[in-house]
Assembly symmetry: D2
Amino acid sequence: MDNIETPVVIINLKTYSQATGEKAVLMAQACERVSNEYDVPIVVAPQMPDLYRVAKAVEIPVFSQHMDPGEPGRFTGHVLGEALVESGCAGTLLNHSEHRMQLADIEEAIQIAHKLHLYSVVCTNNIQVSVAAACMRPWSVAVEPPELIGSGISVSQAQPEIISGTVKKIRAVNKDVVILCGAGISNGEDVTSAIKLGAQGVLLASAVAKSPKPESVLADLVGPLSK
Amino acid sequence: MDNIETPVVIINLKTYSQATGEKAVLMAQACERVSNEYDVPIVVAPQMPDLYRVAKAVEIPVFSQHMDPGEPGRFTGHVLGEALVESGCAGTLLNHSEHRMQLADIEEAIQIAHKLHLYSVVCTNNIQVSVAAACMRPWSVAVEPPELIGSGISVSQAQPEIISGTVKKIRAVNKDVVILCGAGISNGEDVTSAIKLGAQGVLLASAVAKSPKPESVLADLVGPLSK
Amino acid sequence: MDNIETPVVIINLKTYSQATGEKAVLMAQACERVSNEYDVPIVVAPQMPDLYRVAKAVEIPVFSQHMDPGEPGRFTGHVLGEALVESGCAGTLLNHSEHRMQLADIEEAIQIAHKLHLYSVVCTNNIQVSVAAACMRPWSVAVEPPELIGSGISVSQAQPEIISGTVKKIRAVNKDVVILCGAGISNGEDVTSAIKLGAQGVLLASAVAKSPKPESVLADLVGPLSK
Amino acid sequence: MDNIETPVVIINLKTYSQATGEKAVLMAQACERVSNEYDVPIVVAPQMPDLYRVAKAVEIPVFSQHMDPGEPGRFTGHVLGEALVESGCAGTLLNHSEHRMQLADIEEAIQIAHKLHLYSVVCTNNIQVSVAAACMRPWSVAVEPPELIGSGISVSQAQPEIISGTVKKIRAVNKDVVILCGAGISNGEDVTSAIKLGAQGVLLASAVAKSPKPESVLADLVGPLSK
């Protein structure tokens, strides 16, 4: 897989009406334009049924919001890595706080993602869980205090010690994993704070996906990261 | 939604390698050709990431293998009805034995499917569970003894009393629901037996999806249903 | 099993500190005294680790708050019917809104409870789910609108049509099942309303288990049912 | 809590009929006699409904087979730490392969166990998951390759590299956690091999719980650990 540079911004489209179907494509195209204009890597994570049409429409990396572990075969209704690859995905979120996974399944999914050259981002809820996730060697760990998700109150402002603590504790066990943070990130100032605290990027959703003007929100977000 | 006539044959592609990505499209096109040639309704159920490309490629109904309940908004990684509609799906399986659902979630998903004009097929494992499912008024109930799924031993041959019993008990509480059966169905004889026992169609997977010649398997399967 | 007469009051102790360990025993003894004084059947449902000590201490029926399906053997951490019987339980709640179960597991658990002569109460969240539950022939169905659980707003006052509707629709498919209601029930007036709407008893928790004077709350609750 | 010395042997009674109710008490008493005779710590883990009666009957440590995270209050059917303490438990297994838990729930349960002075043993399925578990600082990690559980083929004979690898990799991140192994352990030779490979004890079930002579199996198991 092409290397995704850091700092990176991941836009999770969740299941917002404003970002479903053809609207997911439009949202991804807005991400692509801003990514190109500011020369900052932006990843977009649409719903599973939208992965193929979005991946066909843009050149920026497309991630799934979830991936199940398991080998192809039975498993009706599961979302396996092989299908993500065939849909043009570059990676996947794992263990989002709205789709928590069992410990052993996270590890198996990370292994499968690695084998299939898919980026894996394990979402976590605090410092200790972040360290545990980092030990399983995903591409990235994204720490997001659940109580701030969708709150509009930025983790980098409200709980800066979670970001700096996560960075410090993870680096003691894993030098390579990309460390992201999320929850309540909504503008360039939040991003700047996060980067100063040691994060290598941010994961966010509603500030972009629910905005009537996603492109200007994105521009504000990535502005501080522009080279 | 257009009425899906019965008897109907539903082909579940599960997560078989032979039916993922572009191969899911090829499989769906084979289903479409056989459906047209024999004038028998065939529904195809690919993996979630393949729904859009398959629905774009064929005219026959495309079902999802699963749908989560819930309204659009948060719910990262969930597969909501709105996304299925946007992908061109006509319906969804629910509660497959490889993706069991909670009782209240099945009921909520049925209501949402109804509201969105999506067909819903609740998979069940025995007579009593089938009756319970039928009370929640999905479009269809598909009874599949789990121990026969993927076995190559047909439910209509090995446990005919499950089919006839399900039909009898369901009709006492629901006159309209379409009653299907599955598990081990692999040829036209199995289909004929199922119909004779009162089923209005069959749900099957491996016999078609793992076959090197899916089209001839399909022709054999639907032959007895041709008008 | 001895027949539990109706109307019946089931007190769910949940995991309240005020009703854990020896305090669960005291709470059960209060239930027993009120049950005897007013000649109204009261069932108490303590936490799993408290079942044995409570069942040893009182003569009134003791129910578990949950039971897993499955036969004895492996299944570390599961709560099987055989262990409930050995602990002196008379029955179990199933599918409480705080411990939802898969459809097929509910049905299997009902069958096992029946085989072991344990009473089974399937909790449900609306009319349609109640009818589905009733089709699987538990001893009882207890309808509880989740949004009212623990609210202090009584289902029998706020949503009387759910009780009367559940009674009417269940009776079309099952003449024998005991129909209970719950959510927000906190005094004798709520109980009287519920009975007038056709319920054969009530399921409640916080009004008793969190009260500093559970015995007087209980007396008020069962007063209207006294013969 | 009293310090549990190592090497330690944990006997998981699972849901075996031979170890349910009063038979769980007899099994625990056999463990206690052997523990005293050989001066080797033995822990017994009965089913949740049996915890109180077993803890009343023996002096050796009694562990639950599972504990849910969460604070006292609602959570019908959950097994919280407070109830374990009130039942006389000294600790709990977490994340057994027959009762897998979500990553964040394991971490929360470990924190709660710590706060309540309960020993916590996180079961894991391979080296990488063991390291992740160790990062969350439970009292112990018990690695058990799932395919060998209940097989009669000992992990210490069949996959010695899992034990030695787990010990080596865990020690790089956590110097204090007690490292156990399990799966297929059935006699003193298996225990000796495990200890030589660096394990500080074993977790086993069927060899004892299904034996007609559990006491002699136990004597054989702990003999090599006798001081």
